[in-house]
Amino acid sequence: MNSSLALSLATFIYGLSSVFYIGSFAFKKQILAKPGFIVLVIGFLSNTAGIIIRWIESHQMGYGYAPFSNMYESLVFFSWAIAVLYIFVELKYKENIIGMFATPLIFLAIAYASLSPDISSKISPLIPALKSNWLIAHVITCFLGYAGFALAFGFSIIYFVKSKNSDAASIFAKLPSWDLIDELTYQMVVFGFLFLTIGIITGAVWANSAWGTYWSWDPKETWSLITWFIYAIFLHLRMMRGWHGKNLAWVSIIGFMAVMFTYFGVNFLLSGLHSYG
């Protein structure tokens, strides 16, 4: 078993899990969501194994670094983070159909990592600036944050799929109530906000230990701050202005667009210190 095999397997299994969840919704068969969950957990284990094996492989090649250091590895970890968070949500809230709005994201992230020709899965040595424990803390917390926002985005979509009072016979009736979606979206944003905050902070501490400045308005830093502002706006609108439902869902969707731009757009369109996601 090598890491790329485990990760290809995880990609395939996550895809299968999405099929189950979407099927359970499309055919109004809640029973299908059960195997969907089991398959998801198997995919998650394979994903975890892939990350651990890659870690070991990097040591065997003599480079020895934690596998969170380039675009490929960050995407694989992004999938892992969304998966672990979603598994937790499903277990806690006992709602399974919402997996339809989560599993495709898990699948897409890891599939993009494996399939895009622009992203190399080669294990290559780290440049000196990346050799820092702060880097590991930075990447892990940022991506946990992104995972929270990804799920908030997925759940926000439900507002546009399900009308406020869909009648019991329609296939949308199986989706959770607006109250619950609101709660779920909020919890995910809160989780994302906390971890993005810690992510930005660990990044700043790392920059301060590597370059002597904790903030240099590098495009990636600036975009993560923009993202952070947008979710701060989300929290205040919800707390103080009483925004709910679709209006707030838009803010969460815009926030996730900012996350995606911070992650990919900055790398492909702007230049700066960050060589990867």
Binding site: Y63, K92, Y93, S124, P125, I127, P128, A129, K131, S132, L180, E183, Q187, V190, F191, F193, L194, T197, I198, I201, A204, V205, N208, S209, A210, W211, G212, T213, Y214, W215, W217, P219, T222, W223, L225, I226, F229, I230, A232, I233, H236, L237, M239, M240, R241, V266, L270
Partner: protein, 453 residues
């Protein structure tokens, strides 16, 4: 809006609104985008080439070439700060009364109408349940207030009143961050210093402006080393530095990327490196007619005799980037040949292109054979007395967010009503200042536990 408000009252009201906070944050997010698209701290020529004269004027007027330090951007941050302070003062007195009430009161009717109310009945006499219920409630939530009613009893317990302070901690942390940033920008600097191996200096140059700044002590670079991976990528840079104060050597330390030296408020970082000029070079001098080779060791600045007394060669210097008709040929030595007839020519000997000098088609061709590779170390030198405020802000922000997001003020209410001697009706509900869904789940959990008793 109330009538007859004085101007200060209106200003206070303006700054106490959360609406202003939302607008300010939207403006901060939107304008921050500009600086990631338009080049920052470029030269006038760069802007003129990229955008033309008209746009450049706009850029100049609004300081968009250095927008994160522009007056209007700083004004937005100041508004945010005033907004936070005023808003916090406004609300603190109310929150304070909630957090430290004279006496904890609760309204049973409010709990009886909660959406999350759960009811069930048990086949036991009401008073026999009191003790067990009270114990469980005090174990899962906190101290229990119990009151007897005509039909039975009500119990109330709560926890986490103080967590309502969390938001204030978050907002305070933002103020600390901005204060720290302000101190840093007034009393700190960020400078660069390139030191050849063996060289000493006490002056660095402010990044961007290239102004000299005195560090307060001298730094000598004793040695610089770079290690490469098999792939050719750099693995590690290391400088061995000695700090010299008042002419005396103070101490010596190695610095690496990510492992800086911090001394007297000054931080010294390994940031880059480059080739310095070698002292001694061994050249092969090839006579073109018969390809015979003579080796010669020369110091920079030294002059030697050419073979067969054909003239003199002076090694003048070293160029890190030799430019040949617009091509960068990399590191090269520069020398001058003076022939017997007093004719002089200038020659270049690029290290990476050993056949380059042959193309000159002179009597002799020079090849740089051996030399000691010397480096200079690129140090970044910074001072930031505000960093501790910023770090304190970081810690408070994480703690504050944790409290606000994951802890809450929860109250739980249980009513036990007697139906008859052998059965009672139980009602449970709760309130919380956040996470209603979590409360609902918690009540369900407590119900199953209570039913087990």
């Amino acid at each position: 809006m109330k009538k007859n408000q004085t101007i200060p009252e209106l200003i206070w009201q303006f700054f106490s609104s959360v609406k202003l906070a939302v607008y300010t944050l939207v403006l901060l997010a939107a304008t921050s985008v500009i600086g990631t698209i338009i080049l920052q701290n470029g030269t006038p020529q760069q802007y003129l080439r990229e955008y033309g004269a008209a746009v450049y004027n706009v850029i100049k007027v609004f300081n968009i070439d250095d927008m994160y330090r522009a007056w209007w951007f700083l004004a937005l941050l100041v508004i945010l700060c005033i907004n936070i302070v005023v808003c916090s003062i406004e609300r603190l007195s109310t929150t304070w009364k909630i957090i430290f009430p004279k006496k904890i009161k609760f309204n049973p009717d409010r709990f009886r109408k909660q959406k999350n109310l759960e009811t069930y009945s048990v086949n036991k006499n009401a008073p026999t349940l009191y003790n067990d219920y009270e114990t469980l409630l005090s174990k899962t939530i906190g101290k229990v207030i119990k009151e007897e009613t005509q039909t039975g009893a009500i119990m109330y317990a709560e926890s986490g009143r103080w967590t309502r302070m969390g938001v204030y901690v978050v907002h305070l942390s933002i103020i600390l961050l901005l204060i720290g940033a302000l101190i840093g920008s007034f009393f700190g600097f960020k400078a660069n210093l390139n030191l050849d191996e063996g060289a000493t200096s006490d002056t660095a140059f402010i990044a961007k402006k290239r102004e000299p700044v005195n560090i307060g002590f001298s730094i000598r670079c004793n040695d610089f080393n770079v290690k490469f991976y098999d792939t050719g990528a750099p693995e590690e840079f290391k400088s061995n530095l000695t700090i010299i104060e008042n002419g005396k050597e103070s101490f010596t330390k190695d610095i690496l990327v990510n492992h800086p030296l911090r001394y007297k408020g000054i931080n010294i970082f390994q940031s880059s490196y480059g080739s310095g000029k070698p002292d001694i070079v061994v050249f092969d001098i090839i006579r073109q007619s018969d390809k015979s080779v003579t080796s010669q060791t020369i110091k920079i600045g030294e002059e030697i005799q050419l073979p067969d007394a054909q003239g003199l060669f002076k090694l003048q210097g070293f160029l890190p980037h030799y430019d040949f008709r617009g091509n960068n040929l990399g590191e090269a030595f520069i020398g001058k040949i003076t022939f017997k007839d007093a004719k002089e020519i200038q020659i270049a000997i690029p290290i990476k292109f050993p056949t380059f000098d042959k193309m000159r088609k002179g009597t002799f061709a020079f090849v740089a054979k051996e030399f000691e590779q010397k480096y200079y170390t690129g140090l970044q030198i910074t001072k930031d007395p505000g960093v501790w405020y910023v770090y304190a802000g970081f810690i408070l922000m994480i703690i504050g967010c944790w409290i606000t997001f994951f802890m809450s003020h929860q109250s739980l209410f249980i009513e036990i009503e007697k139906i008859d001697e052998n059965s009672s009706k139980i009602s449970i509900s709760g309130t919380t200042n956040r996470n209603n869904q979590g409360m609902k789940l918690k009540i369900k959990k407590i119900v199953t536990k209570l039913k087990d008793i």
